[in-house]
Amino acid sequence: MSAVELAALAPALALLGALINGLFGRALKEPLPGYLASATVGLGFLFSLFAFFALQSMEEPSVHIALWDYLKAGNFDLSLGFTIDTLSVTMMLIITGVGFLIHLYSIAYMHGDSGFSRYFSFLNLFVAAMLILVLADSFFLMFIGWEGVGVCSYLLISFWYTERANADAARKAFITNRVGDVGFLLAMFLTVFAFGTLNIHEVNELALAGAVSGGLITVIGLFYLLAATGKSAQLPLQVWLPDAMAGPTPVSALIHAATMVTAGVYLIARAGPLFALSPVASTWVAWIGALTAIIAAFAAFAQTDIKKILAFSTISQLGYMFVAVGAGAYWVGIFHVFTHAFFKALLFLGSGSVIHALGGEQDIRKMGGLHKHMKVTSFTSLIATLAIAGVPFFAGFFSKDAILAHVFNSELIGGSKYLLYVLLLVTAVMTAFYMFRWYFQIFRGEERLSEEARAHVHESPALMTVPLMILAFFSVAAGYFGLPEFAFPNVFSHWIERSVEAPVSFGHPSVGLEWFLILLSVAAAALGLGIGYWVYAMRKGEPARGDTGALRNLSASGAGFDALYRPLFIRSSEGLASGLSSLDSNVVNKGVSQGAGSVGLLANVVRWLQTGYARQYALFMFIGVAILALVVALNGGLS
């Protein structure tokens, strides 16, 4: 087994951890399940690293590991296997690396919880499913991981199940994801219809070879897009993610920020050639991403929950990634996944640290001035805030700038790209603004703590702050893998493009224009931060004014999608279901037992005959005899 193939063990390890914790967790003493789970993920990270280095020195772009033949029907063959290439290894590094840190952090965060081992079992199971998702060599296996992460997300959101709201949030997440999953299923059915296989590599090859018409590819692409919107919380299926914050905060960090939600981006990047061949589908991807980005950014403005702001920012950042892959810049999308994983995980873990310190308080209006109580959390959060806001020299700047530049230069998505560019630029301003609000309201300004929280407040233990620091380091460092191509060496693009060979071309504007674009994005970040400073630091912003404008309410309600969906989908389908239910029990089912309804006339005739009088039955019998006798007689006898 070569070093590369070792990576295939990572999901098995995580699965093993989940199994041990799930079956025997209650017999283990408290920190043990946590360390066990962390160890399996950490080992997975090591294996991923081996694979990472091994791949660099290898000629061929990918290694294929056959697992087992899943099933075969006629000449349709489904066998399971892993593809280890630069793309999947990058994802693995993110999942196991960030995952490992979050596991460690959770040991302290979940300290004393009655479901300690259950938590780690679910978390490990999630890592396993996510690894299967990214390693899959076929859409089918990817779907197994895809649903697997959905299930784990369900389990973890409803982790504190005794509260109805948590269970409801989990339900919403699961069902919304299922809508996306149906898109995935239909996309797979269509893929089989068009290509006769579900193997991603084969599909891509066939598509590039022109085996399938462009129209069909567009339809397939749109269904994969539907799947991706579900998992990555994009319009119109973004509604579940803010509610998903009901789960423990490290879960939000791992699942709902760093890994699972990026699965949609990964899917589109994996199927890159498919999308590259369909400008229509790609344009859809980009537009959905851009609209999501700006709407979610708007929705983040009026949130007061420390985690919900981050949730909307996640949706918004995922929108950026979608625009990137929509524009055909697959490595850029993954690059943003990469940088975003660090600073978003850091933001969530920082929030977790705050929530932990304040004994469960999540309302930013009741925070402020925490900097002096928890220096590490504050500094690391500041780094993350600057990174996500797109301040130069932080990781987020490089990836966001790459997205903006590639959208501007894209030749795949046609004429609307400038509009998209503007939208993203506006979103960048908004992002910087609300992230400044987030940071300032929590860590700076005056203290608005409740008595209880004030007594409670403390810096988190080392097990929590060390992961914060590591993540903070990468929130800066990660960006330098993908410096702007026109002037600097860019290792990330070459690395990812070894795996994704999509025929997408980009325009090459003059160096001056490139610098100008960079300047624009820097300006956007500065503008956002500046407005934030003006509103919140200088004018002491919102906590003083109890603003209740219509726009503000719209923002607070997550741009009103829940209010729209409730009558449109939820109520109507519930109405349909209960209508059918009463139809079934009153009409279809009563048919036979009560003589009315569907069997109707016949049943009534039979019932009329069934009087129960023996003599009447005898008469019927006798009539039969008479008829027989007469028929025989009139037919001229027996012979």
Partner: protein
Amino acid sequence: MLGFLLLSAVMIVGAVGVISLKQPVHAALSLVGTLLTLAVTYVTLEAHFLAAVQVIVYAGAIMVLFLFVIMLLNIQGGQQASDMKWLRPAAYGVAVLAAAGIAITAFRNAAPLPDAATINAALQGGGAEQVADALFSEFVLPFQLVGILLLTGIIGATSLVQRKAMTIYGEAQKKVVAAAKPAKAKASVAVLEGPEPAHIAPAPAEPQAQEDIEQELKDILEPDDLKLIKGIGPILEGLLHEHGITTFEQIAALTPEEIEELDEKLDFRGRIEREDWVSQAKLLAEGKKQ
């Protein structure tokens, strides 16, 4: 031919009698007449053994059984009006059609009879020996089966008729034994727990116990007209019958607990006590004895 017509006439008249005579006894006797005529007809058809069996088994044994049951149950004639009035004309109509159909077929397919000598040679008068030959060769399996069937019938009929009497007899036997012991020791009166159906009868000593058994048997076979009790209509009477209460004595002997139980089971809503069935029944039972 004349003989045949005569026999036919008697037979048809008898058959019509069977179905039209009001009193079951008369109808049964009319059937006996028909069956006997049929026996004679068998003789004209060279079936002497069957004729004899017809007389002995059918007109004899079976009909006696009928008469016995009719008299045992004291079934009276007379019908209430049926709620299926249309049935009678329909039956007549269908009957005429069916008979016509069969007859027409018979006459249209008429074949000449073999000559008398052939018939004689083949049937040889249908004596016991000839029929037995056929029964024990060609028909041996059906014959065995019929034997088993008869046996089953005997067991079935016995268990159907005997069940209740048997249980009562068994209970009464116990009473006799139980009563005999204290009678020997102290010659006192033993009060016994009532068996189902609810009937408590003191059985002081052996001779009385014997009488009791007879009395109970009579109760079972001869129900009283419970409708004489004020408050009991035909429906309630039916319900009581279903619960094994058929006589005044049984009602008279009901204990308060049993009344409550019955009340609940039959949903009488306290009628038994309100209308005081027990004392009514006591009066009626005494009246019956006299």
